[in-house]
């Protein structure tokens, strides 16, 4: 680990003594190149006493709020909350009367959020691990249908 003023840089080395005196970084030209390039850039900046700069692949605030909504809805269903109750708490400023629920527009929204959360829990999280380069990939269904 190379602790700088603002962050730590985890470094794996082949031999225990080679962590000192690093004078080059070799990056494979694979699909993770940009992530590694950013880590290398930040490491170089720390070595030279520069501020790390903006993190590559930082999530927009709106995306963070959407993930929090997904997780809260998922936790709510696990806690056996009714969908109407989830809609009231997470999506509506006002209480929703039971008689209005059957045709309520938020009914579809709650279901959509839970579907999204289920997809991420079932394997979609792996794309988040490779964010942001995973944005450029075509979405597929490889996480579904597994036993």
């Amino acid at each position: 680990m190379w602790p700088s003023a603002s962050e730590k840089h985890p470094i794996l080395v082949d031999t225990p003594d080679s962590a000192h005196g690093i004078d080059a970084i070799v990056l494979p030209l694979d699909e993770n190149f940009e992530t590694r390039l950013d880590a290398a850039r930040r490491f170089w900046r720390a070595l030279n006493g520069r501020p790390p700069g903006v993190l590559y692949g930082a999530l927009p605030q709106q995306t963070k709020l959407r993930h929090i909504l997904n997780l809260r809805a998922h936790d709510a269903r696990r806690a056996k909350a009714a969908y109407r109750r989830i809609a009231e708490e997470l999506l509506s400023r006002d209480p929703i009367a039971a008689r209005d629920w059957r045709d309520h527009h938020l009914r579809h929204k709650v279901r959509a959020i839970l579907r999204r959360a289920d997809r991420l829990v079932a394997g979609g999280y792996r794309d988040l691990l490779l964010y942001p380069q995973s944005r450029n990939r075509k979405p597929d269904c490889r996480y579904f249908g597994k036993g």
Binding site: K64, I68, A73, D75, L129
Partner: protein
Amino acid sequence: MSRSDWTDPAEYEHMRGYEADEFAAEYLIRNDDFVAECDQLASSAMTSGSLAGSPDFAARWGARFHNLC
């Protein structure tokens, strides 16, 4: 596994500072199959600081952890 109280926004407030990998971890720990496999791993004897789980475990879940016990 203990969960946050979904009705309390304060319990999720810290996630506003999360990046993509941290959200990925939150989704992963809500996967029942993953949790069950982790429980099995935890009950097997491991050396402190060693990597937990087989390469197969890492390949299937996309994650591997150091034993912190």
